[in-house]
Each structure stands twice: as C-alpha cells, then as structure tokens.
Symmetry: C2
Subunit: 211 residues, 2 copies
C-alpha cells in the first residue's frame, strides 16, 4: 500500500489557495440567504441567481463552492438544523434528554425548520436526489441521536426490551411537525414538555408493562 | 318570517337548466383528473389548461363550474378524502372506532392523500386562501369526527375527563403522515393498528390514571 501522494496533496492545497474560497462567516451568510430564498420562492423556483442576489455574491462564487442546487440547499439545511448540536444529551432521565434535545438549536422548538421544510415538501416528493440527500445528511443523523436517547432509556429500564425504538423516536417530531402544519407555528418549549409527558412517556411506559 | 321566495328559486333553477352543468360522473372524472394533475405538476403549476387537457374538457366548462383554481382543487380534495365517509363510527370501543375510521375511504390507510398533500404543502404555506379553504372544508370536518370518537370514549371512561381531546385526535394522523413522508408510502392497515395499540391507547390510558 502506498501512502497518499504528497504531490497530489500539495497540488490540491495550491489550487485551494489560488481560488477564492467561500468559508467561515461568508459561507454562513450565503447559506442563510439560501434559507430565506427557499422560504420565499420554494425549491423549484430557487435559482443560483436568486441566492446570489440575496447574498450579494457572484454566481461564479456560489458555483465554485456548490456545484448543484441540491448541494447548496442541503448545506443550508445542515446549518439550520445544527446537526451536531446536542446530539447525545445525558441528563440521566429520558424526560430530561428529550427536552434537552428538543430545545437545542435546530431542535423541535426552533421555528425556522418548519417554514423551510414546508417549502421543500413538494420538491422532496418529486426530486429523488434532493430526497435522498436530505434523508442521508439530515434526517438519518437526527433519527440516530433520537434513537440513542431511547436506547439509553432502555438500558435504564424506562423503555421495555422489545420496544420499537424507531417508532418512539419519531413521536415527538411527528406530533410537533403536524401541529406546526395545522397551526402555522412551531410548538413552544412548554408545549413540547406537554407532548413528552402526555404522549411519549406513556407510550414508553406501555412497552415496560407489556414486556 | 316569510318563506324563501318561490320566484327566486325558479329563476335559479332556470339559470341552472339553461347552462350546461358539470355534474355526477363527469364532475367526478374532472376532479380525478385534477388530483392527477396536482400530483404531477404541484399546485403552483396546475392550470385550468392542464386540467382541461387531462380531463378532455373545455376550459370554459371548468370555469363555469369552478370560478378559481382553489375551488377546483378543494372540491377534488373533498372527493378524495370522502369527507362524509365513516365520520361517526360506533363500534363500542375506542380501538374499534379508530381502526374503522382509519381504514375507511380517504382515511389514513388510503395512499392517495399522502401524495396529493405532499404536492400542496408548499403552496399551503404561501397561499392563505388555499390554506384557509383546506382547513375549513377538509381538516376541520376530519378533526371534528376524530374528536367525536374520543368524546364518546371519554363518556365510556376510556379517556379521562381532563384529557386534551384535540391532541389525542391528532396523534394517529400526525404519526401516519410523518411515516409516509419519511418512507414515501402510507401506513398499511396493520401498521395503523400497531400505532393505535402502542401510541394512542397508552396516551388515552395515561389520561385515565392521571385524573
């Protein structure tokens, strides 16, 4: 086995240095402009032109960093959802972990995701590439961290050994998203606590009694 | 109090007789073509031209019956959801009523609504008139019949007197729609029974214990 070629590495570094790159705060501004444009126009009508205008950037700058619309949009969604934020809380109780995660940035008490995903639903149904990118890069890590919480609860005996952890992990997002769609606004932190106490914990308790 | 004017009535009937009307089976065909066009194009791109083409009808015929796109679409949704179908089942148990309603035409085990509502989400967020028409004519009667089931259960003691019936009534739709969005297909009848047993009934039982 040969090690990675140092020539290739330095060539790559040079090419990075010689091209203006979108990074750090500037990248964040562009991604935030992408989210605003998405809510305003929807995915189908979102263009690099529109984002460039909103972000006061050149289209060429955007294309260098994001070759296709799906790349730009999924990066923007990732920023919004703070995919790495509070993935594995450890408060010692299922109730505490659920509330901690829901109230973190990009969690269910955050209002931006509801508006943004509302503007993506239609496109997600019809655009396989967008659907798969969202599932892989956003939903799968969210689900994994939710399931992690329930698995820890299972080890403490708060959830029965035969429970469907995927189903339990989906309850809070499902009800929150549904309420947000019906009412047009995301659930407050108090409402999330009510949902945890009146739906999620009883469903968990039922798995303990059943087993 | 005077009875409704017979002159006004006969004038109305005459005007109905002298204009070619879309009725019965023909109306149903046009509304089904509307649903197909909606899934194919989304609400924003759906036009009377497109529906006329799909239904082999003239645009003038459509406009006479449905003055605006929102009227045509909401009538089509009403047909799909069978708003009057199994609104008030009476099997004697909450479990039986929930399963009966979910498995009726236009219920949660029906796959068409998932696809159709997926194509409407974006527009619903941005188009107030469409949103309000859907809420008033479709969601409100659905919710009313779901709440009816839980109120009957409350009278039988299956649900506690202080329970939030609106929340309980939303659980099954919320989880079904969320699973459909994640997996791309609607829950089967078996899956709906699992959701009733592992989520809805435990949440109801918790309201009895709590009160």
């Amino acid at each position: 086995m040969t090690p990675p070629s140092s020539t290739a590495t330095s060539t790559h570094e040079e090419s990075v240095r010689t091209r203006p790159r979108v990074e750090g705060e500037r990248e964040r501004e562009i991604l935030e402009a992408t989210l605003e444009t998405l809510v305003e126009l929807g995915y189908d009508k979102l263009s690099f032109d529109a984002v460039a205008g909103a972000a006061k950037a050149s289209k060429a700058t955007l294309y260098r960093r994001w070759p296709a619309k799906v790349d730009l949009v999924v990066d923007a969604l990732e920023l919004m959802l703070g995919v790495e934020a509070d993935r594995f809380p450890d408060t010692g109780t299922l109730r505490g972990d659920l509330i901690s995660q829901a109230c973190a940035k990009g969690g269910l008490a955050d209002d931006q995701p509801v508006k943004v995903f509302g503007s993506l639903m239609n496109a997600m149904h019809r655009d396989r590439e967008l659907h798969d990118a969202i599932m892989t890069r956003l939903i799968a890590p969210k689900m994994a961290s939710a399931v992690h919480i329930f698995r820890a609860a299972q080890q403490r005996g708060e959830v029965g050994p035969g429970a469907d952890l995927d189903l339990l992990a989906r309850l809070l997002p499902a009800i929150s998203i549904h309420e947000a769609m019906l009412t047009g606004s995301h659930p407050s932190q108090d409402r999330l606590v009510t949902l945890v106490d009146s739906v999620v914990l009883p469903a968990c308790a039922a798995t303990v009694q059943r087993d």
